[in-house]
Structures are given as C-alpha cells and as structure tokens.
C-alpha cells in the first residue's frame, strides 16, 4: 500500500511490470501459459502469493483503489472483484475506486496462468484470490494498529476502513497504510464466514454506472493523446490476399492524410492509411485503388461449404465420446429412428465499440492502450513486432465496449497491425481503428457448423441410442492452445454441450470433423454451446413431444441422477413458471430449455407469440445455479441481458455468408443484431440458493434462449427449425 502524492492518478505502471526474466524473448507458448495447471482439469489452482500492493492502494484521503486483473467489457468484474476484496478488507465501499490493471505477471488468471478474461472464469478463478488479498491486507492493517497501540490484534476489529481498538481507539486505514506496508505479507489470513459478508452475496450496484451514463467514461476508442494520428487499414477482400500494387493519389488528396503504406497482416498484406482524424483516414482508405493478388488462398464459399459439411456429417468423424454399443443405432428400426440435420452459419461478435488499439513506439520503449481480453498475449505480440522486451512495453487495459470473445485473439492481429504502423511512425501515438465494415467483414467468426443426429427412440419414448456427428472448424488447431483442447483429433470446443451432456443417454456416440477453411474463427460467447445446446435442447423437446410427455418432466426423467445443478435449476424453473406456463392465451406458447455451461446450470422458459412474422417474447423466466451468487444484481443483469445477446442467432439477417471468398455482409444493415423489439419484454431471474464455489454467468445465459424460443415456435407452427438463422417462421 504505497503512499502516493495526491496528483498521481494511480500506481506507477512500470512498478508492476514484474515480467519474469524467462519471458524476455523466446516462444509465446512456453512463457505465459501455465499449461500444466490448465491441463490438469478439476485441480485446485497452484498456490501463489499475490502481493497486496499490486492490487490495493490506500490513498491518504482514505480512498482505496483496487486493481481489477481482467478486462471490464460489460460483465461487471469492475465492480464484483473489488467487492470481494473490499468485503474481506472491511473497506468503506463508498470509498472504493476500481481500475483495470495493466498487463503484468501478477495479474494473470490464477487458473489459466495468463492475464485474460474468458470462459466465464473471472469470479470463479479470482474469488479466492481476491478474498485472500483483502483478508491479508486487513490483517496487516490490524497488526500495524495493534503494534501502535501495544495491544493484541485480537482486541481489534475493523469496519468501513477503520480499525477499532480497545478503549475507543480508532485509526483510519489511510493512517496505518504506510506502517502496514512495511510488514511482511502473511502466508494465510482468516477468511470471513458467509454470515459475516457485508457485500458478497448482496445486490451491489455497479461502480461504473454514472460515468457510462454521462459520457465521461473513456473507452479505448475515445483515447486522445497529444500529436496522435489515426490509422485505418485496407484489408484484402479474401482472407490471406496480398497487395499487388496500389494507387493512392485520390487518397492522399484528402486533407489530413499523412502516410499510406503497405503492411503485413496476420495473414497476407494490406494498406495502412494514417491521417490526423478518423474521417479523413476512412475516406482515404475507401478511395485507395488496390490491386489484390488473391491467388493461392482458398476462396471460401458458404454454399460450397454447406455441401461439403453436410456430406462430412454423414460420415463418422474422430470420436469424442463413445458410450455403450456404437452399433446399437444401426439396429433400430427406421420407424423408431429420429434423424435430424442442423445448420449454423458464421456469426460475427460485433461488439458495440469498434476494435481499436493505440500504440506509441519510442525506440527503446513503447506504450499500448487496448481494451484487451488477452493482455498477456497482446502485450507479447506488440513487444515482438517492435523488437522490444516485454518489460520495455507498458500495456494499459482500457474499458471496452463489449467483447463476447472478439477481444481475445490468439494471433493478436489488431495489436500487431497497430504496432506495425506505430513502428513506422516512431514517436507518434497511432490509434488503429477497425470501422464497423471491417468488423463485419474481417473474420474471426463463430464457425459455421453442420450436425447430423440419429436417435433411436425406445418404447418408453426415451432415447435408446444416439449417434451425433458435428462438423466445424477448430478454434485452436495450430495454436498454443491445441495441446490442451484437441484430443483424438477433436477440438473440445466443437463438441462441448453435447459430448459432456448430463442427459443419461445410452449407446451414445459423438464424433466430429474439424475441416480447415480459409476463414479465421474465434470463440463467440459460450463457444461450442451456442450450437450444441440448440441441437440438444430442440431434440430433447422433440422427443418429449413424440412421447407426449411434458417438457420439464421428460428432462427430469432423462437427466443423470447426480446432475445436481441442472436438477436444481429445473425444479426452480418449474416452481416459478407454474403460475403462468399453462395459462397462456390461445396464440401464445411456452418453450423450455435447460443447459449447463462453464459450471453453471440454467433453466429457461419463454412465453412467445408470433407478431409480424417474428417471435415476440413476452416473458422469460430463468432459474440458475451458479454456486454462490457473489453479486445477485449482476447475476440478474447478466441473465436478463445475456438472453438478448443469445437471440443474435435467431435474427433474420443474423448470418455471415461468403461468396467466392468475399463476405457478403457489410454493416448492421446486412448483419443485423437484436433490437429492443426482438428482446424479451420482461425477464425474471431466480437464483438457486447455494454456498458452493461461484461459477460464471457471462456465457451461461446464451445457449438456452434460442432453443427455448424455437421450442415454443414449434408448438405454434408445428414446424421444427433446424437451420439458423431464423429467416422465416
């Protein structure tokens, strides 16, 4: 808890670049990934000591600045992680200020071993860590007070940033900070009993609300630095294309354009325009006359890919799960066999804030500003491009306008582009911006998938055999994550949600094909669950309908007996929807879906009607088991809003398609996200009471909403919907 003069805005960033010596130079994979711990599923994270002074700064005015070790991009960690620490610290919550930590070793995710946000793991992985930080700091403050007063620490208690000693003695944390900082950090500290929580488990409003409502909060795109220039890049129309030549006379004639030059990209080459202002840069970029060499790279084409994918889905892939008798399905009479084929298109994440990164290169050092979900990797990438050691590069984490996975990119392509440009403009900060068109057309999509499922329906209406083939690009093949996620030739992210199902399905086989396609792909909020949950939950519903069994009852019967969280969520949903589920008007229908992802179980029921040829969601009820709900207000927010994000999959124009290698959509007019009329009008969220370790809520809302809506639609129209997006009903 170092004391700082009043006019400093926070820590000296350099003080926290405790990048290990081994990190200097060398390969990405070995440096930052604690691969051993990541590969050991289900193990407790290795014990690490996190220095409190990297996380907590108690200022002389008693304000407490808490560093958040991952990006805030809407999910609320900017509030919840400080909340956890502040509770154990017994800090005055009104005096807490949260900051997004820069890139540094000490801020790595305790489980993943790299600084990142993803896998809905923020609270799950840092809950214990932030509790300990708060508890240890409190212990040090108490020890300092006890020392000063010559009493025993047991005689002291803490509340709202004040230590209270015997005989009415008090001392503010600010007064004790310096003395406390000189003490050794204890190896352990007593953590609170849940009954002692003052913040954890309570609905706590966000710290960043007001500044996001009055225009004062600065996102990465809002950054303004002296002498800063703006860059916009012309990317090849086909992924991996290269610049053959270009004419820039028209571009350069635009006022404010400074430089136009070819740059290498993650794949292929492009042309960068640097100007004084964004509008000039974009106009100039659009007026470049570029001759592209598009030879030697695949021209991905959606209709050709569908043909190929559907063919592949009819052949066995690499086996992911094989339980029971693989041949059982072949013995099933055709009349008792349900065969279903599904299609899922490419999806863009399209976070509201267009991608951007600012870099200033000064020769022997550099500074980066980015709303990054992957600070460790992006930091390394920029250093590499600039020929610097990581400790020569300061990497600031900016508040981000959404991400959904789009800001967690293994090849750090946006940061690399920015660094390449900044290197050429040494001494001048350069803000690289990807206009919305670049975002929609620029790749890194949720891959397209085809599924083919054959189900044997037993005499009791339950599945007697299940053969499932999934086709879709691997997210990690050829990357440092491959070793961890690819088993037996199957990318785990392709099959998650099906292979790990908690339904007790006998003779169950899941196999997958991971074709290579020249379209960059990426994890899209809830990843494999986006399509797998849709397939599973619509098929289960179809089976329930065939068996003439209630949707909830059928699932209850089919679930494994030890699927505790799923059963709990389902029971709670049953209870909370009893009042309306069977009392809907004639032209309404209810749809149910149940899914567990990232450790959290979610049950969802929707009440829909058809309005202007689209599903109108009057109400959604959600029951969730996420272990201990650290901030129930935040959990509720994630589910109310996450459902709307999930509806992206159903939008009539919710698909990215390619023709002869070129993306056909251009902007939100062609790739259309959900608007308010597409979202549920009301969502009530119910949390299963739990004291288990907290699990995530960032992604779990997404997989359930599309199947729930489509299951309701099926009741209204009698049709089954297996090809997304939902162009017509």
């Amino acid at each position: 808890m170092r004391l700082k003069s009043e006019n400093s805005t926070g820590f000296s960033r350099r003080g926290f670049l405790r990048v290990s010596a081994a990190a200097a130079g060398g390969l990405l994979a070995s440096l930052y990934f604690d691969l051993r711990s990541v590969a050991q599923e289900g193990q407790a994270p290795p014990a690490k000591i996190y220095p409190p002074d990297a996380f907590i700064h108690i200022k002389p005015d008693n304000k407490i600045v808490i560093q958040v070790n991952r990006l805030e991009f809407g999910q609320g960690v900017h509030t919840s992680l400080p909340m956890i620490l502040a509770d154990e610290l017994d800090a005055d919550w009104q005096q807490v200020i949260a900051e997004l930590a820069p890139a540094a070793d000490v801020y790595k995710d305790p489980l993943y071993g790299m600084q990142m946000v993803g896998g809905s793991g923020s609270i799950a992985h840092s809950f214990q860590q932030y509790r300990e930080l708060g508890a240890k700091t409190r212990a040090m403050l108490v020890a300092a007070a006890a020392d000063r007063w010559k009493v025993s620490p047991d005689q002291c208690r803490t509340e709202a940033s004040v230590v209270h000693g015997p005989g009415g003695k008090t001392a503010k944390y600010a007064e004790l900070a310096e003395a406390a900082a000189r003490r050794p950090v204890p190896a352990t500290a007593r953590l609170k009993q849940p009954s002692e929580f003052r913040l954890i488990g309570k609905p706590v409003r966000r710290l960043d609300s007001r500044s996001k409502c009055d225009g004062s909060l600065k996102f990465g795109l809002d950054l303004d630095l002296p002498e800063m220039k703006v860059a916009v890049v012309a990317h090849p129309p086909v992924f991996g294309g290269r610049v053959k030549g270009f004419t820039d006379s028209e571009a350069r004639s635009i006022d404010g354009v400074r430089e136009v030059f070819e740059i290498p990209l993650a794949k292929g080459t492009g042309v960068a325009v640097v100007a004084d202002r964004f509008w000039a840069a974009k106009q100039a970029r659009d007026r470049l006359k570029i001759e592209w060499d598009l030879s030697g790279v695949e021209h991905a084409d959606s209709s050709q890919l569908w043909t190929k994918y559907k063919e592949l889905a009819r052949t066995p892939g690499n086996v992911s799960v094989a339980r029971g008798d693989a041949k059982a399905i072949d013995q099933v009479d055709a009349a008792k066999r349900l065969v279903a084929e599904y299609e899922f298109p490419y999806l863009a994440h399209s976070p509201m804030e267009p991608l951007n990164t600012t870099v200033r290169f000064d020769g022997d050092r550099a500074e980066v500003w980015a709303g990054s979900q992957f600070q460790t990797m992006d930091h390394m990438a920029v250093a590499q491009v600039l020929g610097l050691k990581p400790e020569q590069v300061t990497f600031h984490t900016e508040m981000a306008g959404g991400g959904f996975g789009r800001r967690a990119v293994i090849d750090s392509h946006v940061q690399r582009e920015a660094a390449v440009i900044a290197k050429r403009l040494r001494g001048t900060p350069v803000k690289l911006v990807w206009p919305r068109e670049d975002d929609v057309r620029g790749g890194y999509y949720r891959p397209m998938h085809a599924h083919r499922v054959e189900i044997g329906v037993g005499p009791d209406g339950m599945p007697s055999a299940w053969r499932h083939v999934i086709v879709g690009q691997s997210l990690v093949a050829g990357t440092p994550f491959a070793a961890m996620l690819i088993k037996n030739g199957v990318d785990a992210t392709t099959v998650e949600g099906t292979a790990d199902t908690s339904y007790n399905i006998p003779n169950f086989q899941v196999s997958a094909h991971n074709p290579t396609v020249n379209v960059p792909v990426l994890w899209w909020r809830s990843v494999g669950h986006t399509h797998n949950a849709f397939v599973m939950e619509t098929l289960i519903d179809e089976l329930a309908t065939l068996a003439k069994v209630d949707s909830i009852a059928y699932r209850r019967k089919l679930l494994k007996s030890d699927a505790k969280k799923l059963r709990g969520a389902l029971d709670l949903l049953d209870e909370k929807t009893k009042g309306w589920r069977d009392k809907l008007p004639q032209d309404h229908a209810v749809g149910i879906a149940l899914h567990e992802s990232f450790g959290t179980a979610v049950a969802c029921a929707v009440d829909i009607s058809i309005d202007n040829k689209r599903p109108r969601i009057h109400r959604a009820t959600v029951a969730v088991d996420c272990g201990l709900a650290v901030n129930p207000l935040s959990v509720e927010s994630q589910f109310q809003a996450g459902l709307s994000f999930g509806l992206s999959q159903l939008m009539a124009k919710g698909a990215i398609t390619l023709k002869d290698g070129r993306v056909e959509q251009r902007n939100f007019d062609g790739y259309t996200p959900p608007y308010i009329v597409d979202a549920p009008m009301a969502v009530d969220v119910h949390i299963v009471p739990s004291t288990e370790a907290p699990t995530g809520c960032g992604e779990p809302p997404v997989p359930v909403i599309s199947p729930a809506v489509v299951n309701a639609l099926a009741r209204l129209t009698g049709k089954r919907y297996r090809n997304l997006p939902l162009a017509t009903i």
Binding site: C213, R436, A641, T672
Partner: protein
C-alpha cells in the same frame, strides 16, 4: 476544409473541418467531446444520437455542412437537463449499463421520448428506442428505467 459556427450545448463553437465530415466526428475529434459514440456510421445503431434543434438525430449520418445554426445538444449536457438528469438517475438506480458503449445514444433517445411523451407506454418505448442497438442486451432494464424516470418526473 471550411469553418463552421456551431451551437453546442448552449455554447458557440467554431470548427474547421471538411464539409463532408459527419457531425459525430466533429464533436469527437474537433471538440474532443467523446460522449457521443461511433457504432456503425450508417445510422443503424443509434450510438451517435444527439439532439439537433430538439430532434433526436443520428450524428454519424449528418455532414457538418448541413447542421447550420441549429442548436446541438449532446450527452454531456444531460446532467444539467431535468429530464436528462432523471433519466441518468433512473439508469443508475436500475443498474442498466453493462459495457455502456451504447448508453449515451439510448439515453438521448429516452430523453427525446420523455420530453414528447411524459408517460410513455411499452409500445411508445419500443418504438422510440426501436433503432438503438445494445449488444450486451440491456433492453429489459432500459424499459424499466424509462418507466422509472417517467414516474420520477411526474
């Protein structure tokens, strides 16, 4: 390049910009007022919403040459506007924001709605905010907050 005399949040501002520059970028880069956001540039998302002569306007699509003397009001002025303040307070009370990037535009549209229709119905809300994108999906709480602000203003 041309020089324009603007009225922004009640103050006179002189800017020099290419006539084709959208009002959005004049606000953000010439006047350094970054509260108004760039989301799409083709008026499909509403993040850029300001008020021009009292009309909710998508500043990404209006070139500076077409603004003239009409008063421009941005999110930065909502704090001092009674309706603006009520909307912001309701937004905070209902914990509406997630990433927050779209919220300047949402609030500007909500203010325009409440000024014209102090007691909006669900349908009124849905129509006036119907063209604003929130990728995080905070639509449910936006509805609640508008109703709350309407109550507070009554």
């Amino acid at each position: 390049m041309a020089t324009y005399q603007l009225s922004v949040n009640g103050k006179r501002k002189e800017v020099t910009a290419d006539p084709s520059t959208p009002l959005l970028w004049v606000l953000r880069e010439e006047l350094k007022m970054t509260g108004t956001k760039y989301g799409c540039g083709v008026s499909a998302c509403g993040a850029c919403t300001v008020h021009v002569a009292g009309v909710a306007t998508r500043s990404c699509i209006v070139p500076i040459s077409l603004v003239g003397e009409r008063p421009v009001v941005t999110i930065e002025a909502m704090h001092d506007d009674p309706v603006g303040r009520a909307v912001q307070d309701a937004w905070v009370e209902k914990d509406v924001v997630q990433c927050g990037y779209c919220q300047s535009g949402q609030i500007m549209c909500a203010v325009a709605l409440l000024k014209a229709t102090p007691k909006p119905t669900d349908k009124n809300i849905e129509e006036s905010l119907g063209g604003n994108v929130c990728r995080c999906g905070t639509y449910v709480r936006i509805r609640e907050a508008i109703k709350r602000a309407s109550q507070q203003l009554a």
